[in-house]
Symmetry: C2
Subunit: 334 residues, 2 copies
Amino acid sequence: MTISLSDIAARAGVSVKTVSGALHGGSARMSDETRQRIKEIAEELGYVTNLAARSMRQGWMPLIGVVADELITSPFATEIIRGLDGAARASDMAVFAMTMSGRRDVGSVLEEVRRFRPRAIAYAAMYHKVVSLPEEFAGAVGVMINCREANDRVTSLVPDEVGAAHEITSYLIEAGRRNIAFINLPGLLAGELREAGFRQAMTEAGLDGTGARVLPAVRNAIYSDRAHSLVPSHVTALMSGPVRPDAILCGNDRVAMEVYAALRRVGAEIPDDVAVASFDNQVDIASRLDPPLTTMALPHRAMGRLAADILLAEKAVPGEVRKLPFQLVERSSV
Amino acid sequence: MTISLSDIAARAGVSVKTVSGALHGGSARMSDETRQRIKEIAEELGYVTNLAARSMRQGWMPLIGVVADELITSPFATEIIRGLDGAARASDMAVFAMTMSGRRDVGSVLEEVRRFRPRAIAYAAMYHKVVSLPEEFAGAVGVMINCREANDRVTSLVPDEVGAAHEITSYLIEAGRRNIAFINLPGLLAGELREAGFRQAMTEAGLDGTGARVLPAVRNAIYSDRAHSLVPSHVTALMSGPVRPDAILCGNDRVAMEVYAALRRVGAEIPDDVAVASFDNQVDIASRLDPPLTTMALPHRAMGRLAADILLAEKAVPGEVRKLPFQLVERSSV
DNA sequence: TAAAAGTGAGTAATCGTTAACCCAAGGAAA
DNA sequence: TTTCCTTGGGTTAACGATTACTCACTTTTA
């Protein structure tokens, strides 16, 4: 039922290869008139290229396969995909994502993706982590996005957590804040690195006394529900303690959201009494808080874009780890 | 470089067709021993089926193509995809999504998807709306998700906005609330329908006096930034007016977030003074507000699942419009 | 004891596209 | 005039998996 090149060839009275050359081969030798006539017939018949057939010769489909490690719920995930998609489209490629929902292992998802013969494959994590890829699959994956391969067998793109924490902390310090508390997310790689950046910036500014405190937002590394949140009690304790903070840095925007509520409860004004800053830039939240939240935006889009560039240029260097900078989004909470 | 059936055939000393039958054709006649031996060799060689090659005979790739009308930013979009994916996977199909980012028209995106020869195509909208599909493409699309086709040429799956508004309003009334204000999103189909459901429930309860008010959250149909929000002033006016509401129904969770802040500003307690309820169940926001927000969850997952079922069973009825129920998520804001 | 039925597997055609090769006609250079 | 190159286009063979058809051999049935 679908139209093929031979249908067009029959109608135009030429061979199939001439049609193929006219429609796809930019440099195929033929008269402009022939080419034009063929194009018109193709249009008229509603011809749509069959990429599966083309891929038989080419050896691959014009696809970038993406294996996503978890259920894609956050808007971050879609930012990665958008970055990939934008760069891929420039090379007439499409992005084909598959998540390892449930108990499925990397191997089976990878095979599922490979059945479609994508040109290249990326592995994307939903939050910054270290991933151990089984030996036999390390070769199939070209780039790790938002994660590092445990044995450095694959090129990895990760956010520069240390740098971001350093930058936002310095920003608070430059704004005149001295007693900065950091309510961090415990048990996460991002949290550890951000703590390092925070401490480094505080030390450099000579502020590593009692004013610099790092507190966990939750007890047990899982930040699922506000039921287990330690944020309200931390804020209450901080504000009634001997050294009241003049700034609170938050592990992410959702923590910041709770900090806002807790500060309001104790009657503190943002940013006059306490400045609040955070990480992520989850736009729905950050721009809609009152006052709007100053936060470090994760470079998800940039990671996606760079991943596509690397994959399509085939210039991946196994083991290389590239750290991409966050972007400071200044609103009015500082 | 990649392994094909003939490589396995050569190694096993049988024909290609025998290998094909052993690996894929469940009912092909051959001895169990031969079948087992072939499977082992395939495993050993790391054989991965080439779906493009198979599709040459089958006529289609095991894909459900999805044309998404806008940039996929909301978590809602991924819920639709997850619904589709779950149902598709049961039939060994994958979901292939493509967004019409930027100025590209439906036709070109549709063609881009069709080049991959998907088994079926769905069109998904990011918010409930009416979409006019050009005549020549109406036949290519099997199901409209979260939108209606203007000329009813395609099966459409949409959320039951009227029913949801009726349900949440009745829920507030049953909770003893009488003066319910509705801060709605203007200029949206969802808003119009929800207003109808709201008014209907209020009328049925005999509460259509001055207590029932519908106010717009923003002036001009675009709800992008809190800068243009009318919510704070509405809440202030409501709370200082002659008929103070004992409940505020919000157009969505982000509006509710602003209502929370505004209520706190005027010293009103939730839910003691004013109950707050909303639509969407944007989990990050709704579960993390203080107190957690009672809201009507959109049936995105269900729409995705049903879409896949309809497409794969080929039981789409052009023009049929199916309304799917929201789900009431009870938290503690009522 | 044939003939029929069943079993296990091979042959070859096919899907739509591309690419390596071939060919004929006409013009330019020797 | 002969040779060579360019132009415009045709032939044919892949690519990998599936499937209708065939065939040889064995087992059952009349």
